[in-house]
Symmetry: C2
Subunit: 366 residues, 2 copies
């Protein structure tokens, strides 16, 4: 696969420009409310002294880092606040590829396209391991692909686009593999709050100097535009991470960091639970209606994406455009995520009209 | 010079931990008020629909890009909003060093340390051209240093730390030099609003496919913590810049972008003029008091830094710490900026107590 720029924005532009009413299931942009405390935090910040408007510490606002360290039960030193999980993943991949421990990057197929794009950008060699039909990753297949050339293994659980949640055994084996070949595991856990079966295990559960955990508040607080994420890095990598972060971004945006800190402190657990339940219901409604369309689909264990395929209608960009124009439903082409899902489409359940969308698809393929 | 992590944060930490009252002249953090419209913009943003909290376009909020394009008289397409000038410079240097047109980076001495750190990070070879005593860069010296190995020439005018403002002739010659050796000129103009003699010329004045202009609202709107900057890039680089930005940061923080957009629209020119006048007065007060200390110093034509040196007291980190502990004044060591100013200190005029600081220094060296 040759990724340049991920195609999300291209599909969104096409959908925006379409003539009719289009149900947008393209992006991973939550459509639900951010916590009230987040809005309040921003208003409170706006009233601060001039000093509050200046550079925070490069590694992030201390209060926010403390809150993250306490929640994740790690040393404060290991927490670096980044410009979203995007920067955290970028830093981790850049470190993995510049430490002289190989240039291969093991990715899953299907893959979250940014990982593939970054591998190209950073001159790594992507090596894809296909997941099974349920999106599960077989650690033995990863072990087989791994070698002394392996610099990185990059995974995402709960997974975008498959909805798979990796078992604790898988996570342990992945750590074991990177340790054996002196590589880094990058475990992107940005959908950790959207785990419907309670099976999710963070890579933090396995102590290792070879794993970097990345995350963000983009999905859990419904603020993809705020760009507040973090990396939890092993001690030997702390200085290198901070240096690269400083020389890339100096620091992350402070109003957003402050608002997230307030939201973390003030938001009751119920907020997260309610959104999870709402998504669970959307998944049921969407997949029930897909049954009527004669579609095959995945039922996500986590995240908020459903992959579906329709008879004689491959998952190309051209067919995405046809669905936008002729069915009024915008999804992502499976081909954007790799070789193994080229027959499929990915639908993001970020609209209250998910069921209606499935009905439109049923009508279109009738 | 071997820069790893710029030392600003280290000095700030030392000053914060000091026992007595310390006048902070370390960072480039404005101490004056951001515009009221910026605060209002943030409050207005906080009240938006959930949709407003999600990813803006990767290249930045359209309204903000339009405002920048109109002000700088460039095509909208050429404007990319970044996480401060820091990211803009990072992207430009990364592009210059990965296009296969050399690996040397021509920097000035003294240098803004982030440029040197990025050169190391990106595997470039730094080549320093010393400026004269007034901080002026001799284009002939740059021409002599330039060769087919030159990937980048990175300059900053108005300059940090020297306060020099380059003439239009210098800017034209720099563009001519990078064109001749197929390199990129990165012109960081973040202090453009702090030009006391009216001599500043943006590199935008010279049309060329070889120059990237970077800037930010950090200084002009007194919001270094917001991380809103931009790059203006030649057309052939637009796609590459966007791709690298997307794969590094996805996009920049939206609340900050929105607030800056509002501030740009609503803030009268008087805001900028008043701050410039205030700084002009601080410079006079500070340098007058330095005369009493028997110090040599530079009088900045632009930016808001004064470099000073004192008899038999070199510009080392150890002496910076002595000035913090014994004189109650925190500055930056000249050694942090290169080989040519190791006898000097840099003082940032970001405190209403600038005159008092100079008096303390006079007392200390008396």
């Amino acid at each position: 696969m040759d990724y340049e720029r991920p195609q999300f924005f291209r599909v969104m532009q096409y959908a925006d420009a379409a003539a009719g009413d289009v149900i947008d299931m393209v992006s991973g942009n939550p459509d639900w409310e951010p916590p009230g405390a987040l809005r309040d935090g921003l208003v409170e910040y706006a009233d601060g002294d001039p000093e509050q408007f200046q550079y925070p510490a490069s590694e992030g606002l201390l209060e926010l880092r403390e809150e993250i360290a306490a929640r994740r039960n790690v040393a404060l030193e290991q927490v670096l606040v980044t410009n979203g999980a995007g920067e955290a993943n970028h830093l981790a991949m850049a470190e993995g590829l510049t430490r002289g421990a190989g240039d291969e990057v093991i990715l899953t197929d299907p893959v979250y396209p940014y990982y593939a794009g970054r591998t190209n950008l950073l001159d790594g060699q992507a090596r894809y391991v296909a997941v099974d039909d349920d999106g599960q990753l077989d650690p033995d297949a990863v072990r087989e692909a791994a070698s002394e050339d392996t610099a990185l293994v990059v995974v995402n659980s709960p997974n975008n686009p498959t909805g798979a949640v990796y078992s604790e055994a898988t996570v342990r084996e992945l750590v074991d593999i990177v340790e054996a070949c002196d590589a880094l595991l990058v475990s992107d856990e940005v959908y950790d709050h959207f785990d419907y079966g309670g099976e999710f295990t963070s890579a933090l559960a396995v102590d290792s100097a070879h794993r970097v955990v990345t995350n963000a508040f983009s999905k859990s607080l419904a603020i993809t535009g705020f760009r507040v994420g973090y990396a939890i890095v092993p001690e030997w990598l702390v200085d290198r991470f901070r240096t690269r972060h400083m020389l890339t971004n100096v620091t992350s945006s402070r109003p957003a960091q402050y608002a997230v800190w307030q939201a973390l402190r003030e938001t009751p657990p119920d907020y997260y639970g309610r959104n999870r339940e709402m998504l669970r219901e959307r998944i049921v409604a969407f997949t029930d209606a897909l049954d009527a369309a004669g579609a095959e689909y995945t039922t996500p264990q986590g995240s908020f994406y459903v992959m579906a395929r329709f008879p004689d209608f491959s998952g190309t960009m051209a067919n995405v455009e046809r669905l936008i124009d002729e069915a009024g439903v915008a999804g992502m082409p499976g081909a954007a995520f790799g070789e193994s899902r080229t027959d499929w489409f990915r639908f993001a359940l970020v609209t209250p009209r998910a069921e209606e969308a499935a009905e439109r698809l049923a009508g279109y393929f009738d």
